[in-house]
């Protein structure tokens, strides 16, 4: 009701913020994104000019957003422009072309929202998004994202390790795999009215992959709450796997003994493997995976060489030691 009446107001987000409980507010939301970005640029300039050691305290305070920890697991690479990150999306629930989600997810309501955690765990239950934000410290994770379509981005996610959430529900020894499910609601997700995929979207990880410190649940990006088109209010991010593994708008997580069915794999098993680890040696029938293009590089930029596990081999290589990556692609 309230959102309806405020729909045409430019400052709707700010107003909504006022009526939300304090715990819902991402620290970074207090700073407008433009300001935040300008500060970052300033800071970079300052860093370049003076070196971090002699930085004035004021600048340092501005950069360090309250409570939003920087993660040592972040990449140093320059993030892709915000405009590209929020306008170039594969989110078939809101249309099958890249600009569709930004357009068609505008009115998507993500509150109330809760996630069911069921299956092989001692304390199955349901948890609301507000509680997730309160219980788990949010941090910034700047990750590379490599899409199976041979393009890539660098995205400053905000989120927390999936393992923190799973541990809370105490997985049993039966929990060998984790299955995830996106919301199914064709009323709100127009893309689901056509059966291009077997809705709802499903994804899965092996338990060791799910518990790996690089694997996060994202609640935001660029220091602000997750835009709808990027999978609000809660999505998975597994940076060493092709983007389609990083399931969006999650409503259910199920711990189980067997490998769960996954959406793209079900559509075409020879194209999209269950593991879907980024690997330049294993060609997709449609696209060579040897090279990719970084979004924002422009028309004439050289393609970049794709690295095994998207450059995260030192962190995740051990998970797959002894495994035939050609067979389990």
């Amino acid at each position: 009701m309230l959102t309806g009446s405020l729909r045409h107001c430019h400052c709707r987000r700010e107003i909504c913020m006022l009526i939300r409980r304090p715990s819902d507010i991402l620290p970074s939301e207090i700073t407008r994104r433009e300001v935040w970005q300008r500060r970052r640029t300033l800071l970079r300039a300052a860093l370049a000019a003076t070196g971090a050691a002699v930085l004035p305290a004021a600048v340092r305070a501005a950069e360090k957003l309250p409570e939003l920890r920087k993660s040592p697991l972040s990449t140093e690479e320059e993030p892709t422009d915000y405009e590209h990150v929020v306008n170039y999306n594969n989110f078939y629930e809101f249309g099958y072309k890249k600009p569709d989600p930004a357009e068609r997810a505008k009115e998507f309501r993500t509150r109330p929202w809760s996630v069911r955690i069921t299956g092989a765990c001692e304390a199955p239950g349901e948890i609301g998004v507000e509680d997730l934000l309160r219980l788990f410290p949010q941090e910034e994770r700047i990750y590379r994202l490599r899409c199976v379509e041979a393009w890539a981005m660098v995205i400053p996610w905000v989120g927390f390790p999936l393992s923190s959430l799973l541990q809370r529900f105490r997985p049993t020894s039966e929990a060998k795999y984790v299955a995830f499910e996106t919301l199914y609601d064709p009323e709100r997700m127009p893309g689901q009215r056509t059966k291009v995929l077997d809705w709802p979207y499903r994804e899965g990880l092996r338990i060791d992959e799910a518990l790996h410190p690089l694997t996060i649940l994202a609640t935001g990006l660029y220091g602000e709450i997750l835009p709808n088109q990027n999978g609000a209010p809660l999505r998975l991010v597994v940076p060493w796997k092709y983007g389609f593994k990083s399931i969006k708008s999650i409503v259910a997580i199920h711990l189980q003994q067997h490998q769960p069915p996954t959406s793209w794999n079900a559509l075409s098993a020879d194209e999209y493997g269950f593991f879907a680890n980024v690997n330049p040696e294993i060609d997709h029938p449609r696209w060579s995976q040897k090279y990719h293009r970084n979004i924002g590089d422009g028309l004439f930029a050289a393609k970049r060489e794709t690295r095994l596990f998207n450059g995260y081999a030192t962190q995740v290589g051990d998970l797959y030691s002894g495994m035939d990556l050609k067979k389990f692609f």
Partner: protein
């Protein structure tokens, strides 16, 4: 050209190479089907003036296919020959697209009126290849599609209708010619 200018100024969004490939491919296929639609439309409307535009439309189709091919070669593959070669033999949708394009080359080359006169009946037979090229274009689109088959299906329907019209018309034409 307009497309290209917009791409350079960043107007084509996040992935301009993909956008250019898609738009040029779309237009190549649309002009191919439009070219094929000329004769049935002439027969239907009994308006032979339309025929004058057939060659122009066909050449537009060729120009877009050529652009599409060059974008793939230069921007898409950055002229990396081993990759190009692997794509051409390893990916059926590329191979089919290539064949569709190669078939258009002799048609474009023999499109001048003088050539047409010189080749006579051979010209007519040769130019039937345009049906094959369009069909391969549609197959190409199907084969490159990941999940949403509605667009290639729409093109396939149009092509099917045009082929039916063509086949039905055949005996009648023999009488009048």
């Amino acid at each position: 050209m307009v497309l290209f200018g917009r791409a350079v100024t960043g107007d084509l969004g996040a992935n301009p190479v993909e956008e250019l490939t898609h738009r040029s491919g779309d237009w190549a296929l649309r002009f191919l089907l439009l070219t094929l639609a000329v004769t049935p439309a002439r027969n239907l409307l009994r308006w032979s003036l339309l025929l004058r535009y057939r060659r122009m439309l066909g050449l537009f189709a060729f120009a877009y296919a050529l652009t599409h091919f060059l974008i793939w070669l230069i921007l898409g593959q950055s002229l990396m020959w081993p990759e190009i070669f692997r794509d051409l033999i390893g990916r059926p949708y590329v191979a089919v697209g290539m064949l569709a394009f190669v078939l258009l080359i002799p048609l474009a080359a023999t499109s001048a009126a003088a050539m047409r006169r010189r080749l006579g009946a051979t010209w007519k037979q040769l130019h039937r290849l345009v049906y094959l090229s369009a069909a391969l274009g549609v197959v190409h689109f199907f084969w490159l599609t990941k999940a949403d088959w509605s667009e290639p299906a729409a093109y396939a329907m149009v092509l099917a209708v045009l082929l039916v019209l063509r086949v039905r018309r055949q005996p009648a034409r023999r009488e009048t010619e």
